[in-house]
């Protein structure tokens, strides 16, 4: 195990994050505040409560998930795409490292950044609403698993992408709608019966449901199912990355 390599990649990637710490910190704070003003105050004042929780508090887990998923995807995709774009990835390919070490370095850093943003949003939201977390350990576990699994997914996108446009394609076209339709801002029980069934095909539903359960103790789908879904997604992404490194797809000619 080349631990020095994991540490080197991790530190190098985190250095990029700290170079832009101000933007990294400020933009989620502003966007979260906007969501609270629009959804929590303007619209939420007309909604009594959802599943016994005030609407403002109800959307907090969804908002955190939205940010963590986006940040994890974008950070990991960019982290692996940028060295491919500038040509510096040759040194990773010629280094004595295996795929797990490369992934641990890049995905570890991307997930760390995503979790940092998640915590910032949680902190910001306490300025607007009262929040109690019923299952803190489960909350941390869901946050970690989501950050890691979507960083893995982002890693795959970063290897697949051949241009900066493609880098944005999947996050914008597929993942964003899935998050918005995954119950970030509503409970599935608020949907018409048919849509309640259809929405179960959306994997993000399981993430947000499980995460929300860790806050309020109420979930749209069983918590065990949520956990299984996210673990399955993580395993699938790891399998794809293993295949990429074994065949050299888009990495080695």
């Amino acid at each position: 195990m080349n631990l020095h390599a994991i540490g080197a990649i991790y530190r190098y990637e985190m250095a990029r994050f700290f170079r832009t710490i101000f933007q990294s910190f400020l933009s989620p704070v502003i966007s979260t505040s906007l969501y609270f003003v629009v959804f929590g105050t303007a619209i939420g004042s007309r909604i009594d409560s959802v599943e016994g929780v005030s609407y403002g508090a109800f959307i907090v887990p969804g908002l955190i998930m939205l940010a963590v998923i986006q940040q994890a995807l974008n950070n990991a995709a960019f982290a692996i795409y940028f060295p491919r774009f500038t040509g510096t990835f040759y040194e990773v390919l010629t280094a004595p490292v295996n795929f797990l070490e490369v992934v641990a370095g890049y995905v570890g850093a991307a997930a760390t950044k995503a979790l940092f943003i998640g915590v910032v949003i949680l902190g910001t939201s306490t300025l607007f609403v009262d929040i109690s977390i019923q299952h803190p350990l489960a909350m941390v576990a869901f946050l970690l698993l989501t950050g890691i699994s979507f960083s893995l997914f982002g890693f795959i996108i970063g290897i697949w992408a051949k241009s900066f446009e493609q880098l944005q394609l999947i996050p914008m076209l597929i993942v964003m709608p899935l998050i918005f339709l995954g119950g970030s801002f509503y409970s599935i029980s608020m949907l018409p019966p048919l849509w309640q069934k259809i929405t179960l095909f959306n994997p993000v539903v399981y993430l947000i449901s499980g995460f929300r359960w860790s806050f309020f103790g109420a979930a749209d789908v069983p918590v065990a199912l949520s956990l299984a879904a996210i673990c399955g997604f993580t395993a699938l992404a790891l399998g794809v990355i293993w295949w990429i490194f074994r065949t050299g797809w888009r990495l080695r000619s």
Partner: protein, 309 residues
């Protein structure tokens, strides 16, 4: 002592069907400098990329320090440093951080003293906190060399180290390579300048169309390649080489309007003075003189011709 690098029938065919390496076999001894000479597209970079792990071979094998480059890639790659042909650096990162990254990637712990020594050696210490995008082209190339050296490799690949580098820097690069050799590093460099191979290498390999045409000691090869031709334009045409000049390696050319003298430019005595004196003595009138050294392309043609014969 076993060669530090053994390449055995190494082959690479790209997905498009292009055969970049057609079975290259080569042994490189520890501590030597080997220059791979060849025109663009000859397979020089593919050979280096394959040995370093950037490209996957489609046949044959290679070992570095006895470690197979595929089966035992960790041990093999730990021994290798690569300076790529294209300058590739993360633009916003500081010089010292990008150098430290490479050391970590190759499994070595932080060593500030060594990093400082290497950066000083390459005249980069003053620029250590500069983002790489603010460096000149020559400095960027030196950063790449620093990165390639920072994990203390025993074999260093330099892929066209002086491409796009001005004359003064090129000379500096040659000095750097000489220092590295003195420290015991084995160096394989590619170039398409004969002059460069001559200045740096112990042995020279000529590669063309994915095949290694020859590998020879520099001295032997330079002798072979060092032949020049002196063309003497005559005032009046001759029907044959005058008997008085039969001691010289002369040929008639241009339908008797010119004499061509072939000589070894590396030799102590080229025989030109004697020839000119003999021509005057024989009463042959000279209109003009010109000399010509075989270009690399012509040498390749010659080599291919010899191999075919």
């Amino acid at each position: 002592m076993a060669p530090i690098l053994r390449i055995n029938d190494l082959r690479k065919t790209y997905d498009g069907g292009f055969e970049a390496l057609k079975g290259v076999t080569l042994d490189i001894e520890e501590g030597e400098i080997l220059a791979l000479l060849g025109p663009n597209g000859a397979g020089k970079t593919t050979l280096i990329s394959t040995l370093c792990g950037n490209t996957l071979p489609t046949g044959g094998s290679a070992t570095v320090g006895g470690h197979d480059i595929l089966k035992d890639y960790r041990a093999a790659r730990s021994m290798i440093g690569l300076v790529p042909q294209e300058i590739a650096l993360e633009p916003f990162e500081k010089v010292i951080n990008t150098v430290r990254l490479t050391r970590g990637l190759f499994g070595k712990g932080r060593d500030d003293a060594l990093v400082e020594k290497i950066l000083r050696q390459l005249s980069l210490w003053d620029k250590r906190d500069t983002p790489t995008k603010a460096l000149s082209g020559g400095m960027k190339r030196r950063v790449l060399i620093a990165k390639a050296l920072v994990h203390e490799p025993r074999v260093l690949f330099l892929d066209e180290p002086t491409a796009g580098v001005d004359v003064a820097l090129r000379k500096g690069m040659w000095d750097t390579v000489a220092e590295l050799k003195a420290s015991g590093v084995t160096i394989i460099l590619t170039t398409h300048y004969l002059e460069e191979a001559e200045a740096m290498a112990d042995r020279i390999g000529v590669i063309q169309k994915g095949e290694l045409l020859l590998v020879e000691e520099k001295a032997a090869l330079m002798k072979r390649l060092g032949r020049k031709k002196l063309t003497v334009q005559l005032r009046s045409p001759l029907s044959e080489v005058p008997a008085a000049l039969s001691g010289f390696d002369l040929e008639l050319a241009e339908e008797g309007h010119a004499l061509v003298y072939t000589y070894d430019s590396q030799a102590e005595r080229t025989g030109i003075t004697r020839l000119l004196a003999a021509l005057a003595e024989a009463g042959v009138g000279l209109a003009d003189l010109s000399t010509h050294q075989s270009s690399l392309e012509e040498i390749f043609v010659d080599l291919v011709g010899e191999d075919a014969a």
